[in-house]
């Protein structure tokens, strides 16, 4: 069986208990909301649809395409699920997938499952659907481009959040884990974006009714747009900050009392030595920064145009 554990599934023992429980609480409340929302819109049809779609994500993760030198890109699916099925349904589908991966394959822990669900199911739904919803009534090319970007960003944001969790738990050093995780996931995210866009293009061709504007609008309100944009901007600004000047972030967290909350061994303000194992640090910072600037520009233009239209 082709089954590759993805580097985003945190195993038990790597997160501090406090951090693990906080994210379990956050994930559980979102799951509860998602259950009641989908139950209202789908009724008893909820269970078969969500279950089979979760099996789809699981099976689709086996589809891989050779890239180079024995490595292959494969697919996580959080953004695609949220775009096609709606954000609440997407959250449930990804929760089921992550639960089975953790329970059955030990790919991700049980106590830290809340954090895994939050990173890979909820964050991806917020960014994936939120950004896609901003352009839901527009031309095919715009929608696909935004969907691809959302898929890429959701992968990178998951990696960022996972590294922040590891850092707050005192497991990893911030100045190492953030560039390393971001560097890897900038590439994984590119594969994710390509597959998501092409899968959407295919679905659009054969079942355009699944992707029309009314259906998208009815599956999640305008709140998703604002949350999606806010979270995306946060991720775009935090990534270069965290990899370029970890001292700053560390100081902010220290001032806000996060370090005492999460860490049994608070790191003091960093001394001068670091080990940049990855040469990609500067590169990833530059790319993330440039992309961030482009996103902001694009969003400003889009928001401006939609405002003009409604007037």
């Amino acid at each position: 069986m082709v089954y590759a554990p993805a580097p985003l599934h945190i195993p038990d023992g790597f997160l501090n208990l406090v951090i693990a429980l906080i994210f379990w609480g956050l994930a559980a409340s979102m799951i509860a909301a998602a259950l009641s929302k989908t139950n209202k819109s789908l009724g008893e049809k909820q269970v078969p649809l969500m279950g089979v779609m979760a099996a789809f994500i699981f099976a689709a993760q086996m589809l891989n395409f050779p890239v180079a030198g024995g490595t292959s890109g494969h697919f996580l699916g959080g953004a695609l699920a949220a775009i096609v099925l709606g954000p609440w349904a997407g959250i449930l589908v990804m929760t089921a997938v992550i639960a089975v991966q953790g329970l059955l394959f030990q790919d991700g822990g049980l106590l830290v499952m809340g954090a895994n669900i939050f990173n890979m199911g909820i964050l991806t739904a917020v960014i994936g659907f939120g950004l896609y919803r901003t352009v839901s009534g527009r031309g095919k090319a715009t929608r696909l481009a935004v969907a691809g970007f959302a898929a890429w960003l959701s992968t990178v944001a998951s990696a960022l959040l996972a590294s922040l969790q590891l850092w707050l738990s005192g497991t990893s050093r911030l100045e190492i884990v953030v560039p390393a995780m971001l560097g890897v996931h900038l590439l994984i995210g590119a594969g994710e974006a390509i597959v998501t866009v092409l899968a959407l293009a295919f679905i659009e061709q054969t079942r355009p009714d699944l992707l029309n504007a009314e259906k998208t609008a009815s599956s999640g309100g305008r709140g998703w747009i604002y949350t999606g944009i806010a979270v995306s901007l946060l991720a775009v600004f935090l990534s270069p900050l965290a990899s370029a000047s970890p001292d700053g972030l560390e100081r902010v967290a220290g001032d806000m009392g996060f370090l005492h909350l999460g860490q049994s061994a608070p790191y003091k303000i960093l001394p001068d030595y670091t080990i940049p194992i990855l040469g990609g640090t500067a590169l990833s910072t530059i790319i993330a920064g440039a992309v961030g600037a482009l996103v902001v520009l694009g969003l400003v233009v889009l928001v401006g145009r939609s405002l003009r239209k409604t007037r």
Binding site: P11, G13, A60, V67, L103, L104, L198, A199, Y267
Partner: protein
């Protein structure tokens, strides 16, 4: 493909296999929680936890080394904790110079690194033992009894039920792709990376539509058979006295582990 192709259950007759799944779930979660609560460097307590694990292994009749052999799934993730070795908090143990950088492992850092590894290694083994001694449908019922929302457990049950059906579908798609990607000797088959990614994207889209339409058919078939929104089971799952006893024993051994860990 067989319906239980994905189950990690190992059929056996043993006291652990016969325990109520609720007990096994609670004990596994408590074991992982207990490991998370142990302070760094409490090696004696980690040893006690390991003995508890070995005892459970032995009682399951799967062999003492059963979970050990499968315990390396989480190992690649240890890379994330390596940077903890160089924590600036402790006393420096050595100093290496490499490409103009000073690399300084500290005693506190090493202690933290190995404690993280021990916790993770112990926790993952108990989770492996849980799925090796409990059938997946029983596991889902246990979560249902433990007040996990029923619609969520049923979604997971459906995922498990249709996983192998859709995996078959994936294999059909992969076989079709292979059949169409003939390669002449000395030439690579398939086009550029982008072309290959496009094929994969279309496969994902195709798989999505087949799954989506299938879920519709499944729902209609279930409706016509009297589906009202949740699945029923014939397995009663009643806690016997033996189950309570095992639960009490296991939890008190974890309490002992905590005592060993915190009293020095």
């Amino acid at each position: 493909m067989h319906i239980h192709a994905f189950d990690r259950y190992h059929a056996h007759e043993s006291p652990i296999h016969h325990l109520d799944p609720r007990v096994k779930v609670v004990v596994t979660v408590a074991f992982i929680l207990s490991n998370a609560l142990l302070p760094d460097g409490s090696w004696l307590a980690f040893l006690v936890a390991w003995l508890v694990l070995l005892l459970a292994n032995d009682q399951s009749r799967l062999g003492l080394g059963y979970t050990f052999k499968r315990s390396f799934v989480a190992l690649p993730f240890a890379l994330a904790a390596v940077s903890a070795i160089f924590s600036p908090l402790g006393r420096p143990l050595a100093e290496w110079h490499f490409l103009g950088l000073s690399i300084i492992p500290t005693d506190f850092g090493l202690l933290r690194f190995f404690s993280i590894l021990a916790r993770s290694w112990l926790s993952v083994q108990m989770a492996i033992l849980l799925v090796a001694t409990t059938q997946f449908p029983d596991l889902i019922h246990a979560f249902e009894h433990l007040r996990v929302p029923r619609s969520l457990t049923t979604i997971v049950a459906f995922l498990y039920r249709y996983l192998f059906v859709l995996t078959d579908e994936v294999y059909r798609l992969l076989r079709a792709r292979q059949a169409r990607s003939a390669a002449a000797p000395g030439r690579r088959s398939g086009g550029s990376v982008v072309w290959r990614a496009r094929v994969t994207g279309s496969m994902a889209g195709q798989l999505f539509l087949r799954s989506y339409e299938r879920s519709d058919r499944i729902y209609n078939a279930m409706l016509s058979r009297g589906y009202t929104g949740h699945l029923r089971t014939l397995n009663p799952h009643v806690m016997s006295r033996r189950d309570w006893l095992a639960l009490g024993l296991a939890l008190s051994s974890l309490l002992l582990t905590q005592l060993v860990g915190w009293i020095r």
